[in-house]
Symmetry: C2
Subunit: 142 residues, 2 copies
């Protein structure tokens, strides 16, 4: 698994409230915004998503409880085979696979595992996503 | 507050177990490792730290409970005044200030706030840290 990160997702209870905080309050600009999810490009080249908590729970197949506060870290791979390879490696390393990789409604391929402390990683392939030579992840560029 | 990120911190219960997972299991290489904290450089230009949970609780002045699973996101600023400015902005935006910025034992200046969903941000100035033109954060380079 590369030492690289593509996306941080924050589960939020109220999208309007969360967007007011990050956009009106902190001055951020959204790249794309939908009812359940809103993406921001962060320097030096990855993304941060606000995602409704109950949708994130469904997507990650994991309740947001005492060990999962609703933050996931994501690594976007260059192809589906690389997703499977990283999952095999993570499982061998002792990860808990909470969602084996599967085709996603948004057109990609994604699964989730947690590390020994319960921190949640998503490993995904997204056809809309470009991984640069410098390790940057650009969304919506495919 | 810039749309930029410098560091992700994962609270861990057992440093040896966590390092075995990320290093022996996933193949990562540590940049620097101490008893309580271990840093990794992630592409495209920021850091991930493993930090003993009880030390992170003390540092963030926040228990790791149902709303705080022990992940913090950090923005490193270029000077102390920028830390204060970001805190003023965050407070005006409705953030909960859990630790106002203060001089840190490691030689920098740091505080923590949480967003409306309880997600924890650290905003810091670290004299060992260089912020590149591209928004990358390089640790231990000062």
């Amino acid at each position: 698994m590369e030492q690289r990160l593509s996306l941080i997702t924050l589960g939020v209870a109220d999208m309007a409230r969360a967007r007011r905080f990050y956009e009106n309050g902190l001055g951020w600009t959204a790249q794309t915004a939908m009812d359940e999810v809103c993406f921001y490009e962060l320097r030096p080249g990855f993304g941060l998503a606000l995602f409704l908590r109950h949708e994130l729970e469904k997507d990650a197949k994991r309740p947001i409880d005492g060990t999962f506060s609703g933050i996931t870290l994501a690594l976007n791979e260059r192809c589906k085979a690389d997703v499977d390879a990283t999952f095999a490696q993570a499982e061998a390393a002792g990860a808990t696979i909470t969602k084996p990789p599967e085709d996603a409604a948004w057109g990609g391929y994604s699964g989730y595992f947690s590390d020994p402390d319960g921190h949640t990683w998503e490993v995904a392939w997204n056809p809309q996503c470009v991984i640069g030579e410098d390790g940057s992840t650009t969304f919506g560029a495919g």
